[in-house]
Amino acid sequence: MMPVRAWARAALLAAVALGAGCRNTGPAAAPPAAHTAALERRYFGDSSPPSDNTFRFNNGAEPEIYDPGLAVGQPDGRVCRIMFEGLTVPDPVTLAPLPGQAERWESTPDGLTYTFHLRRGLAWTDGAPVTAGDFAWSWLRVLRPATAARYASMLYPIANAEAYNNGTLADSTQVGIRAPDDSTLVVRLSHPTPYFVFMTEFYTYLPVPRRVIERYGSQWTRPGNIVSNGPFSLVEWRQADHFTFVKSRTYWDAANVRLDKVIAYSVEDLNTSVNLYKAGAIHWTTSGYVPSQFIPYLMQFEDFQHGRYHGVYFYSVNVTRKPLDNPWVRRALNYAIDRDAIANDLLKRTRDPWGNMTPIPYAGYEHPPGLTYDPVRARECLARAGFPDGRGFPKVAILFNTSEDHRRLAEAIQAMWKQVLHIDVELSNQEWGSYLEATTTLHYDIARRSWIGDYLDPTTFLGLGVSNDGNNRTGWSNPRYDALLHAAAAEPDPVKRMRTLRDAEALLLDEGPFIPVYHYTINDLVKPYVRGIQPTALDTHDLKFVWIDHGFRRNAPAVATAGNQGQ
């Protein structure tokens, strides 16, 4: 065996030397040496650190657009955050806002005005200084209707932002953003928003260089044109393949950035992602790029990270269709699902059973009691709705976009409803485009859906139940619910506000069109020599805190916080 392998390697090395020229050193993995074999078994795959300070990871699907003001998905956002920095940056563990481009901030007691003070010495990669005016211009650009920014709603807490964005207000100077001088930004909100500073971490709030955009238009993000203000700058981009970033010398905190280079790959296939990790070609698979069936197996390894993710998987019920318009039917469906069995048996504890529509606890928020498994009560509800023992219940269908995971879950729930309620439901899968069309135009009975929150406040989920909200997609409309949310928005006292939101969620769970099933989790593979990556609620990480510990086998594994990231 050995001689063949050695010969093969020699032949390959020869071929590489002849053919490759100066390709980068990533992919081919080395088999672990014998004396570290025991250590290696604690980790999944190759755990020898790279010889340089280049961090490689799988960013997942190809980013659609990585202009921060126009970015939409997680892959887009991650790329933006590598290159650009906002007023605040997320703490590596808690995601609490830490000073970024702004060194401090304060707010008025009524919670309506925030003043941010920028650091001295901030610069773009082309040397020009970063000013408060840059932030003001960037945010107004997002709100300008002609820009067609899909995440403009992130800025709606700002006074008059929504009106300006949907065209009812033409004068942009009325929007509550002011830059009285180069290093001060004053923001006026339309209602007290306790999570506003947190929002400034979000990629839609990141600044963009005006003169570059005005010069290059839509091509401004190309390597060579692009100018940024964050810890790294873009030097190479190969579509559907990878991005290459190098450490930015003009970044204000460059002294504490320990990576020289970052390479973000765009590998869509989950199995491939895991294989690359195993071979040591990438050092981190972002959450969602590990196949769920692998997770129970991976849980035994030390480099597997598991935590709660800020998202809920639920079924959406179309209340415009009979018999789903009857809240007793919906309650019956809810109580007939054994969420524990799903999470523990079907999903093998890779996800958490969840009966609420808001995920992980928010500071100061107490969840109302969640939906539970109660077959007796379920049958009572169904009888009360007029279908005792399931007699006469029309055929309804569970719609999902084609995917193994959705299919298995739907089959399990189909079996549960059959067993407890004695009703027959069909399963129907459609490809993505058709599925989206069906759910947005209410052409379905029950559909599988997910919602991932954007910021750590219950309203990011409770907003789904608002009448006529674009993300509602169920036809459910309850004036009392809307009123509760309005009241919470205007409430200056944070304690009272949280209580009002709790009441809203209780109403949503009781009468609402949503059937929560499980709580999303983070499932990452992170090499043991990578420091600074922990599971975070939103799966966001600021790579400035990440470094490669070449001596990791000597050092104890450390939990990186902003405080000790330099050690």
């Binding site: 692998f294 048996d345 079907l346 089959e411 079996a415 490809e431």
Partner: protein
């Protein structure tokens, strides 16, 4: 028998022995042991899958056992179980119903359409050939996914639609291959002879030329069977084809390939079923080709 008589037999078979091409071929096929074994095997497999609901001891293919999960082959589950704890042996047997039906009918449809189209185009030549082949080009170039999605939009999800979707593309390459063969054959002397005898064009094409193309045609047909079965899995992804909890060999292989590193048996067993079917079709096809070969007439009395 004299040499001269032998030669005559080769040119005008029918008159001498009262045996048409087909019954003679049937007899010769019966002598081909590999083909017969393959045929019998296929028939048995088909019978098993059709009789699945009544087979004693065969588990319910939709019965889940979440706590069990996926386990490798054992005395209780000869093929093991899938992630929902369902018996794989029973799913493979039930899955065979759709797959064998799909494989057979889908392939036959593509065979008939493809051969006819290609033969006519090749024989006619000129503008007709150009036009017919351009139609093939157009159908080839159009994105298949949209064709299927539109089919789903315009019509409901029935078995017929499944066959239509399958048939849409499979015949195209067949037509091209047949056309190539016909172009080559139509210049040969036996065609001139038939024309001189006054045979109409249709007869020339279908009674004389097509049988001589049978070699590559049969080969391509047997290769089409697994392609059609796997294509059905792709259609299932789009929402056509088998819907859960039912399964076909194609969907079993396709789903199993996602977890091949963890639960290889989920791919191996349906994969073996698929390969065996293909092998049988191949032997059968080879036997058919040998039996129908007009030039291979060795067994004259």
């Amino acid at each position: 028998m004299s040499v001269a008589a032998l030669g005559r037999v080769a040119v005008a078979p029918a008159a001498e022995h009262g045996a048409s091409l087909w019954s003679d071929a049937w007899r010769r096929l019966g002598r081909n042991r590999a083909a017969v074994t393959a045929g019998v095997f296929l028939a048995v497999m088909a019978a098993l899958t059709v009789a699945a609901p009544w087979l004693p001891g065969l588990a319910d293919p939709t019965l889940q056992d979440l706590r069990l999960g996926a386990v490798p082959p054992s005395p209780q589950h000869w093929f093991g179980t899938d992630e929902l704890g369902r018996d794989l042996l029973s799913r493979v047997v039930y899955g065979g119903r759709i797959s064998m039906l799909v494989g057979l009918v889908g392939t036959l449809v593509s065979l008939v359409i493809g051969v006819t189209w290609g033969a006519v185009a090749g024989y006619a030549g000129g503008r007709v050939d150009d036009f017919m082949m351009r139609v093939v080009d157009i159908l080839y170039a159009l994105p298949y996914i949209f064709l299927v999605i539109l089919l789903l939009v315009l019509f409901s999800k029935t078995l017929i639609m499944l066959f239509v979707a399958l048939g849409l593309v499979q015949w195209l390459t067949m037509a091209r291959i047949v056309r190539g063969q016909v172009l080559s054959l139509k210049t040969q002397t036996f065609v001139e002879a038939a024309r001189a005898l006054g045979a109409p064009d249709a007869a020339i094409v279908f009674r004389h030329i097509v049988p001589n193309t049978l070699g590559p045609v049969i080969v391509y047909t047997t290769l089409t069977v697994p392609a059609v079965i796997l294509q059905e899995a792709f259609l299932s992804f789009l929402g056509l084809g088998v819907q859960p909890p039912a399964a076909s060999w194609g969907t079993l292989v396709s789903n199993g390939s996602q977890v091949i590193a963890l639960f290889p048996w989920l791919v191996i067993f349906p994969g073996i079923a698929l390969s065996l079917t293909l092998l049988c079709f191949n032997f059968l096809g080879d036997g058919l080709r040998d039996a129908l070969d007009p030039q291979d007439r060795r067994d004259v009395a």
